[in-house]
Each structure stands twice: as structure tokens, then as C-alpha cells.
Symmetry: D2
Subunit: 396 residues, 4 copies
């Protein structure tokens, strides 16, 4: 493993040097006050990143998938109904998890490439006079298709129907990279992980619970122990966990939040948008299209790029790995073989991004696609030159 090139998968991201060092930590006693000096600021930092004044933040040695399970099992009971749209692989998996845990899912099938159908949600919620629906699931950013959905619209759908269902948002590939507003959007459970916007190694499920979600834990009957937030809350009160926490990653999370908040969240979002716009300029220059159906749903963290009919897009990913030592993402599920994905979240500079675009060009050309070498790079260069980064200190 040479570790020379940046990765362009949609997470785990490239890890900043300072975060690698923060995570690489000798053992301390995780039941000592010392540990509290890591835990509490980390939780507070996450709360700020979520744009919440009061969310209860829980951090598990797990992943985003464990975060989904945390949201469901702590607030719902067997047989409960949830409303969810399936518009990509990750929304699909969350739906599948619900079903495995004995929940009834009202699934709104949605074309892959489109955002969440807030209007359909509104209709269904309005029609749900019996308040059968206990929770609404919303994937903020579909990592599989590079589609960002409008969570505020989902909240409006709930509000307009005056519906009491909880709002669960999968922000795994959006939080800390794109605007996320826990309080403004009335999110009840927000789920993310360490390895995307927080730029850390994988290994943490990070969840925020609203007061309403916390109240729901009192009656929720789905079995849970490892992911029990009540145990966790008790532990936190004593600078501890109900079991052994991932101390190094928590230390990294604390440092990551400090970095993000020091930069300023709006600057972080603008930085992601700017890098993403360069990538999209390259895609246009190549004459290709995004999987995302329209600019309103373009993701600033990952672009899924459609390749021509009859071409196996996954070959680009294999070829890039084997020939150039560069990692892109494959298409998943319905769009497997039809798209390849460039992750552009976390710690990236103009020139790192350009190196990914240059690699993609070589791969496409190597595999017979009609791509002019340098064309996408030039388009992105043009964009980056014309739109200077807000804070150059990021490169300092």
C-alpha cells in the first residue's frame, strides 16, 4: 500500500494530518475525568456542527449503519409504521433495516437520481389521520446517486399535516460538509459517522436526538442494548460509557469539530460547493451527465457520473485502481455499471481534485470513451481560477 494518491471515494475521506495525529493516541483510562475532557467537548462540538442548541449527541463505536439502528430501536416499537422514500442504495438499506426490525415501511418508490418526494410525503402524511406513521425517514444526501434532498420541505410536509411523526435524517454524507440544520428543520434523529465530513477514520456512529426523540425512548419497545441511548446518557453523566469507548476517535472528533468550527461552518459548506462545482464543470466538459436529475439536487460531496449506454462504468473504477492507484466509487444497486462516482468531500484542495479529474480522463480514454485529455481538467482549472477559495488559510 503506497498511500501516495488522495482517495476519491465518497468516504472515508482523506484524513488531515492533524486528525490522524489526534486519533493516534496512547491508552488512557476511559473511566477517568481525563476522558471527560475529550468526551464532553466532542459532543458539544458535534451539537454545533448539527446547528442545534439542545440536541442530545450520542457517539457509538460503530458506523452510520449503527446510527440508523440507534434511531430506530430507541424510539420505535415492533409493528410501528415509518414512511420512507427509496431513491438510492442507502435509503434502500435503511428501509430494509426497518423491515428486519419488524417495522412496517410505507415506501415511496422514487427514481434514482431524484430527491425525496416531499410532496408525496405531504399527501401521505395528510392522509394519515390515524397517526399510524410514527417516523419519517429522510436521506439527506443519497451517496449512491449524488443527490441532495430538501429536508426543510419534508419538515414542511409534516408541519402542514400537523403530523406528530418523528423526523429521522440520514446525514451520513452531508453533515459537516453541506448545510444541515437540526433545530431549524425540526430533526428528531440525525445520523452520521466519523469518516465523511468529519474527515476521521471510520468507527463512530454519531447521532443527535431531539427532546421529542428522547421522550420516545421511554416507550420504545424495540430491543436494544449496545445502541441504547439511555445507558449512554447515564454513562456520559459520569464521564464514561456503558462499555469501552473508542477514545482515540473521540479525541479526533473533538479536534475535527474544532477545525470545522474554527473555519466556520458556512465556509466549510462554501468550500465543498466550490470544489464540487469544479468537478461538475469537468463532467460537462467531458460531455457526460450526472445521475442527479437537476441542479437543485446536485450533491456537494459526491458526483455520480453516467457513462454512455453499453459501457460498464465500473471498469473505470477497477482500471483507476489497478493502473493509476486511484480510488473512485462504483455505482451501486440500480445504477451499478451505469455510473462511477467521484467523492469530493472532506479534505481536498484544487490540485488534489484536479489530480482525480486527470485520472478519470486517462481511465475513460484508456477504456475507449471519447474524452479529450485535459478537457475536464481545463474546465475545472478555469472554474477554480475564476472562483478563488474563500479562505486560503486552508492551504496554509
Amino acid at each position: 500500500m503506497s498511500f501516495q494518491n488522495p482517495v476519491f471515494i465518497p468516504g472515508p475521506t482523506n484524513i488531515p494530518e492533524s486528525l490522524r495525529k489526534a486519533c493516534d493516541m496512547p491508552t488512557i483510562d476511559h473511566r477517568s475525568p481525563l476522558f471527560g475532557q475529550i468526551l464532553h467537548p466532542a459532543r458539544e462540538g458535534v451539537r454545533h456542527v448539527l446547528k442545534s442548541a439542545s440536541a442530545e449527541v450520542f457517539i457509538f463505536p460503530s458506523t452510520g449503519t449503527g446510527g440508523w439502528e440507534t434511531a430506530l430501536t430507541n424510539t420505535l416499537s415492533p409493528g410501528d409504521t415509518v414512511l420512507a422514500a427509496r431513491n438510492g442504495m442507502f435509503s434502500h438499506r435503511w428501509i430494509d433495516m426497518c423491515q428486519r426490525h419488524g417495522l412496517t415501511v410505507e415506501v415511496v418508490e422514487t427514481p434514482w437520481g431524484e430527491g425525496l418526494p416531499a410532496q408525496r410525503y405531504a399527501e401521505i402524511l395528510a392522509a394519515d389521520k390515524s397517526r399510524r406513521i410514527k417516523a419519517v425517514l429522510a436521506t439527506h444526501n443519497e451517496t449512491a446517486t449524488g443527490v441532495r434532498s430538501d429536508i426543510a420541505a419534508v419538515r414542511r410536509a409534516l408541519d402542514e399535516a400537523d403530523h406528530p411523526a418523528l423526523l429521522f435524517v440520514d446525514g451520513v454524507s452531508s453533515i459537516a460538509s453541506m448545510d444541515f440544520r437540526f433545530d431549524d428543520w425540526g430533526v428528531d434523529c440525525a445520523v452520521t459517522g466519523s469518516q465523511k465530513g468529519f474527515m476521521l477514520p471510520p468507527g463512530l456512529a454519531i447521532v443527535g436526538f431531539s427532546e421529542k426523540a428522547m421522550a420516545a425512548t421511554k416507550t420504545a419497545k424495540l430491543p436494544r442494548t449496545f445502541f441504547d441511548v439511555t445507558d449512554m446518557a447515564k454513562g456520559y453523566a459520569n464521564n464514561a460509557y456503558p462499555y469501552t469507548p473508542a477514545v482515540g476517535l473521540l479525541n479526533g472528533l473533538n479536534e475535527s469539530c474544532r477545525m470545522l468550527l474554527d473555519e466556520g461552518l458556512e465556509n466549510v459548506f462554501a468550500r465543498h460547493h466550490r470544489i464540487a462545482e469544479g468537478v461538475r464543470a469537468a463532467v460537462r466538459a467531458w460531455g457526460l451527465e450526472l445521475c442527479a436529475a437537476s441542479p437543485e439536487v446536485y450533491s456537494d460531496t459526491v458526483s455520480a457520473i453516467r457513462t454512455p449506454e453499453g459501457f460498464n462504468a465500473t471498469d473505470i473504477v477497477s482500471h483507476a485502481a489497478q493502473t493509476y492507484g486511484v480510488a473512485f466509487g462504483t455505482g451501486l444497486g440500480e445504477v451499478a455499471g451505469k455510473v462511477f462516482r467521484i467523492g469530493h468531500l472532506g479534505s481536498l484542495t484544487d490540485v488534489m481534485t484536479l489530480s482525480g479529474l486527470a485520472c478519470a480522463e486517462m481511465c475513460m480514454k484508456d477504456l475507449g470513451l471519447d474524452i479529450a485529455l485535459g478537457s475536464g481538467v481545463a474546465a475545472a482549472q478555469d472554474f477554480y481560477r475564476a472562483n478563488p477559495a474563500l479562505a486560503r488559510k486552508e492551504a496554509a
Copy 2:
């Protein structure tokens, strides 16, 4: 955080330099063949450490508690009965988890300080003509009391009753430190974590499943997704996980297994026994007693040391942390305040151990106990001198 002194908590342990470096790894694509070069040898290494020819090894971004949940939820169904003895905090917690997940637990209350009552198990299993009991839980090493139980005896109890129940063993604080025989003892699910005998940071649940346990997954009805071993097995076949794996820790695990197997498991166990004997010599020299009721159950990974009536043993732990920057373990549950614990597993040398003993002496003296300074140290020095380490290369 100065990180100068070794820790003497019963895990997480002191992390060897080479393992810290193995874990501190830049991002790679966890869906690439490269990842398979980490995953498969790590699983194979664990299998050898378990002394199994055929156990299916699963590794979750989680902890030992998640490993417990993996064992239960993949093999059992709501309402199933399990047999378990409560002889310390960790057996207590596993029992509690069973109950939360809707299992019926036949609990054999056992004095804290004693080992698992294999004889009682035998009687209960023999009496269970209807085969109501689906699984027997056994905590190999009670970390709370420093007690090692006889798992072979539990297996004999099952065999003598010709009972088909699964045998689940919590080896969190024994595996990779004390003799553990997955195949010989007919273990069906073995559970451990990264942060004890494997000397890694916390963050991995490591489980081994027998063929019989794998078969049980087909009918098990307890809900599970994150901890589903069937999904995991499918992923492994494609060099992948059902979600994002903790790549750095897996890389560390691979290296850890290589270190342990290179040293030789019997040498690893002998090394732990030798270090533990030195600690026990010190305890005797101090005129104190272990929580463990008799030498047959002495743990080679942790010693829980009883302090005199009326003395709060937890003060030693606080005082050591505040005054000397040294971490010991407190007593938990029934023995809270009555014992303090010295963890002596993982990467320790004679002189590291002596520094812990010297610290304990100072603390006890500072707090008014009648301890002769240097007495425990001298007893341990004597033992270590008289019983040279098998492999000096460990210190090379």
C-alpha cells in the same frame, strides 16, 4: 495528557509501538482488493488465536458488548431460554442484555470471586429434558473480580447431559492472553474485543462462530442488522463489509495476530502467567488478599485486590490518577469500594509491572494503609529474577 506512565487498567492495554503504527493508516478504498489483503489475513489470524480450525470469524466496528449482542441476536429468538451464572459485573451485564432482548435467563447466582458453577450447570442441563435452554453463557474471565472459569468443565456439563444448547463464551479479557480453545472446548460463539489481549485501541468486536452457531442463524428471530453475521459473511466474500469497516484497526489486528503467533500462543500465555505471578507475590507481601477465591481461578490478566474493611478501595484509584498519573481499575458492582484492580495483560515488562506495584504501594501508604514501601516490589522482583522470561526477545 502526558501519556508517560503505562496503564494498569484491565484493558484497554498499553499499545505496542508497532500496533499503533499499523492502526494509524491513511484511507484506502474499503471496497477494493487491497482491503481484502488486510481483512482475510486478520480473520485467519484470529482463527488461529482462537485455536480453531474452522470458526467463522466476524469483526465489527464495535466493542465486546456488541460481540455479546452479535452472539445472541444471530442465534436466538424472542422467548428463548439461556442459562447463565452471575459471578461479577460482566456476567451480570450479559444477563441483563439477554433480558432486554426478550430472552428468558435462568440465572445461577454465584458468589463474586468464584468461578462458573459448572456442577450447577450440569445439574440444570441434565434436568432440562425439554431442551428449553438454547444457549449457555460463560464468562471465561470475570474482569470485575479477576476470576478465570473452567470452560472445559462447562463443555463437559453440556456433553454429560447430551444437551444441544449452544455454548457462548465471553473471552473479552482472556482471548489472546490466556489459554482459549474454541475447538477443544466446543465453543459455539466466542466474543472478544480489540483492546485487551490483542493490545489494540478499542473499536472492534471480534467473534467466532461454530458451524452449529452458523446454522442457528437461519432460524434466529431476534432482530438484527448492524450485527448480522450473514450480511457480514456475504460482504467478506467480496473483500467488503455491508458498511464501512474500521480499516486501520483491522490492519492493526492483522499485525497483532502476526505478533502473537510469531511469539507462539503458549509463550504468550506463559508470559501473562509470569507477570501475573509477580503481581500476586506483591499482593501477598502487602498482606492483602485477592477477590478471587482460590488459586485455581486466579486470572492472569487482572487482579482484584481486597482492601481492609472500612477502607474505600476506590480512593486508591483516584489517588493514583491524581497524584501519580497512574491508572488502575476500580471495583464494580458488588465489590465497588472493596477492591481495586491491577490490569496486567497485554504489552507489559517486568519493570513496567514493578512501576505499577510501586505506585500502588505509595498510594496505599499515602491513604493510611499499613504497607511497607518496597515490600511488594521486592517480592515481585524476587519472583521475576527467579523465573526469567521465556523469550527475552520480547524486550529486544
Copy 3:
């Protein structure tokens, strides 16, 4: 400091992950046999990299400049004459050092951009009937101009004149990157550092002495202590140094040699040549010229690129640092402001190199040069695609 982008200075180079870890080493006793296990293989590794069967290798906690001083002070006496050509900043500095140490330098002024004038050397040596010249200095690769000279031709000049002068070669920016033949070329002192072809942090002067050079130490009168090779040789015989060695860097050097020799020196050289050819293709595509006068002297480790009359090439370097966080090299001495330099030695991949080229393009365009964005990138992509890397494992 964000450390996100690769550096494109002609050393120190990008440090491979494995070498950073090898250097980052806890303290050991540098007077113990343990240290010998680092020192001796490192020296042996360097000897192989020098392509020598018998060179005495000395490694000082210093830099290439210290290596120059080692060569001079251990073999020469005040008033001795040396022959040297000045064709760039680094040959200039070595000449200056000679003069400061009381040596007489016969300087052959040579246009910057040209290689060493072996023919002029031959004439001078042939004319030196009194054998006044004690040593010939030869800068293998002029880092300031990106010019590689023909050391074999210098050796022939000596041989044809049957001249006994010592041959000193500055291989700081060539050794371990371009073909270097200590024995074949009859080199008497070879000088390099840790931070170029060995891809380590700066901090080591690495020198090889021939038997003849070792003999010269017996009569050399220039004062020396820190750089005394006789003291050093005595120390080595006892696994030690005359003072405190830079243990971590030596450990890194040992590992670096292992990496280079595992890859195969010819493969290492081919890799550098290939990367350099891509850079040169880009330069041609930009319509610019190299400082190096002709292809025979093109350096495979650094390219000095001439910018149009009236343009301050140093602006590119400042602009790249400030605007894109990328480090190039400035012109030095006679070519200050006239060239900028792209270092392309050590640990580089196609896409890393392309990112540097893309950055240079943006900078030149930003500063008003008539450069087509993507043009150099495309030329290099074309070259890299058409000329696949020999060993793809480098990217594995």
C-alpha cells in the same frame, strides 16, 4: 500547515508513509547492539545503492553540505588544488567551500544549463604534469539548472591523463534516483543526503569513500572533528558513533534502502525517467524551454523551466504557494527570476505529477502567460498512458 498537496521542490521530497513511520521512533540506547542492527544494514544498503562492492559508507547527522565538507576535510590539506566546474548554484557553493577551507580551486566557468566540461577537464588534467591537482569535483546533477553531467566522462578524463587526483562526486540530487556507479566510475568520494532519492526527512549526510580516499585521510591536514571519518569508522566497529547518531533517520534510511533495492535500482531509475518525461512533455506543450541545454543533460529529478523574457519566474513559485498551497522551486543565482523548478524525484505517481502540472498551468495563466489550461496536463497524460509504469505495484 495543511500538508494536503504533494511538494514539487527538488528535495526534500514527499515522504512515503512507511518511511515516516520508520523515522518516528522512540528512543533506544545508541550504544547498544540494538543500534548495530540498524546501523550496519543501513550502511550496507547505501553501499548497494551506490553500486559499490567496497565503498566505506559514513552517515552523519548533517546534510549534503556537510557531506561536501567531509569529502574535502578528510582527504585534503590546506593549499591543495582542486579542479571544479561552475555550472550552477550547487557547484558554485562547493567551490566556495573549498576556498573557505584554504584550498586552491581551478575553476572552469561553464554556462549554466550545460553539463560538466569533461573535455576541458581532460585538457587541464593532461597539462597538470606536476600533479598539483589533488581532487576533481563533479556535480552529478545540478539541482539549480536541472542538468545531469556525465561522470563516466570525467573518469575517462582522469584515466586518459593517468592522473592520480581523487574524484569527488556530488550526487545529492541524483543518487537513488538516477544511475550512479561508484565502482564503475571510479568515484572516490560520493556525497548525498537523506532528503532526496532516499525520500527521508533532511538530517543525514551520506558519503561513500573509496579505498583511495580512505588512504588519503591518513595525510590530510585540513582540521576536522565532527566530520572525521576515522573517528566514525572506529565508532562503527563498536556499533556506535563518536557522538549521538540520528537514530530515527538511520532507521528510516535502512528501510528506504530496503524499499529501493526491493523495487530494483534500474526500476527506480526508469520510474524517475518516466515521470520526468511526462513533465518535459508538458513543458513542450506549454511552448516553454528547459534551462538544460540539450536532452543529453536533462535531469530526471528536477526540471528548471525558462519563462519568457521580462517575466519574473519567481512569481510563479510565490503565487503557487499563496494561491494553491503548492511548492515549486525558484531559480537560484544566475538563473534567479528566469526559471522556476519542478522537482520530480522520490515518491511520485502519475496523478501527483499531473496535479503539479495543473497547478503550474493555473499559476502561469493567473500571472498573464499565454498558456492553454490543460495543455501540459494533456501532454503528460498522453505520455503516461502510452508508457505504462513498469511496476504497478508501486501504486498498490
Copy 4:
């Protein structure tokens, strides 16, 4: 190499985690303003540690020996006379260096174990009416014998004679550990290295020059290039070096100074004194004597401990390394075989120190000396308990 135990050599010391991380730095452009952000604060930090308002601080990629050479070659001319006392191996070596560089040394032979003979210095200086003596050498702490000398007394000797000679002080094993007063003592050149009080890896010579020493550089005729402070000063003015600096170590030095100054120099000195007193209590408890002749000259950074007549003290060092993996220092020169040395400088805690004492006890007993196990440990425990550390935060 297991790196488990602390080292007890008198440097390099145990490296604090934060300093290891500061040194382990990716490559930056050492000719950029970024580098200035490391260099200047590091120099300023050293100046404070030297207790000087105006010393010019120079930092070479070298060692303390290179620092000695820097002092001599930048200020003196061939044939100049210097006054020096030989009371240990390191003063001996500095004298030897002077002689090799063509200086005349007036050597005051002084029993090993005694401090510098300031009274003899005074007499010689008073008698030197012709001002033949250009510099006085003073080894502040003789690392070989564990003897600290009175530099203020040497200054008084100069002042009383109204002698203009420069005062050079070797503070390699004192600076940043014991009180050192560049300005108060009128030091002209102070020499140290990175690997002792600064707790960094070896690789830096650190020197301070007074205004008077700087003036002397103008007329000094000893040849020098690598160690030329005038070149260095010119470089510093441009955020640069005359060659490639050891950037990572400089970054570490910057951080080290920050740590030391945050703790407070007087606290640092008190901490060293306290740890040393514990070691000396142990030595007394063993019934052994220090090489240092009297308490006034006891070193707070290293203790050289005499072993009984007929016993080879070096055996302790070999045995400790081979049997217990612990590094002590051997006796050097005149006291080879007669003493072994315990280094107790830099990053050490009570329990780390106790582990070294416990090891020494085992070794002495193993080798047949009449030492009561635990006796030295108990004496040190007693001292540490009775004399609590000033700042417990060091262990926090």
C-alpha cells in the same frame, strides 16, 4: 525493538508523545514563509530557555559535538590559546577537538568527580597578562561523571582578572534541565543539542552566541562552512538556511520550548531536582556512592554510581539491556567499569524513575552485589511521597 520500557541513559531521553508528533512532519518548502513560522519562534524559544535577552541562536542539523565545533571555528584562529579543565569524558573530547583544530589548550587536569576548578582558572587568567588566552571552556554538566560545575564562578574568575577571553559553555546535558543563565553568567557561546533537556530526537546542535562572540566571528580564521554562523544568520533573515534544515526537528524544538516555558523554567528545574533526589536516596539506600565528589556538584540530570572495587559496573548495563530490556549508561574513560549511570533528565515521572531503580536493583543482585531488593525503591518512594511534585499537571 519493543520500546516498552523508558530509557535511563543520559540522553537521548524519553520523547513526550506531543514532541514525537511535532517532529513527525510531512515535507514543507523550507524556503517559504511557512518555514519562518517554525524557525523564528523556535529560536526565540531557545533564547528564553537560555535566559538571554539577546543571544543569537543558531540551530544546525548536527549534534552537540557540532555545536562545540561551531563555537570554536567561528570565533578563533589557528594557534589561539584556550583554557580548559579536563574532569570527564566530555570535557576531554572538547579539548581534543580544540587540539585537532590547531588551537593551543592550557589544560587543567581535574579529578573526575570534581567540578571545574574556578579558583585555578582565576589564577591562570590573572597570570595571563598578555591575554594569550582567547577563550575559556567550561563543561556545565559532565555527563560522564554526573558533575555540575559552577559557571558563575568561572565568570567571576574572568571578571576578577578583567580578562577579555570568551566564555564557552557546554550545556548539552544541563540546558533546559538545570538552571542556566546565559546573560547573568556572561556566557559567550552556549552549546546544547536537541536530545537532552529538549526531549527531542538527536539531530540538532543548538548554540547561542553573545554579541561579543558575534564580533569575534569577523576575525576568526579557523576554516568553516557547514558550521558558519554568518551564513546561517544571513539565511535566517530570509526564513531560510544556507542548506536544507531539519524541519521536523525544528518544529519539535518550537513545541518543546513552548512546553518548557509553559511549565515555567524554575518548575522544570525543580522537577529535575526532585526526580534526581529520589534517585540519590536510592543510591544511599543501596550503600553505594556517587562519582560526584560532593553534594554541591551533584547533577540533576545524570547520576554516575560507583560500584564496589573489583566489580565491573559495565556488566550492570549489559545485563539490564539483555535481561530486562532497560538502558542505563556505562562509565566512560577513566571511570569505565567503575561506574554505571542512570540518566534522569527530560520526560520522567515518579513511577518511571522507580521502574529504573527497581531494574538496577535486580541487576545488581543478579550480578552478586549485596543489595536488598526494594531498598532503593522504598527510599525513593519515601522521598517522592514526602516531596510532592510541584505541578501535578505534568502527569495530567
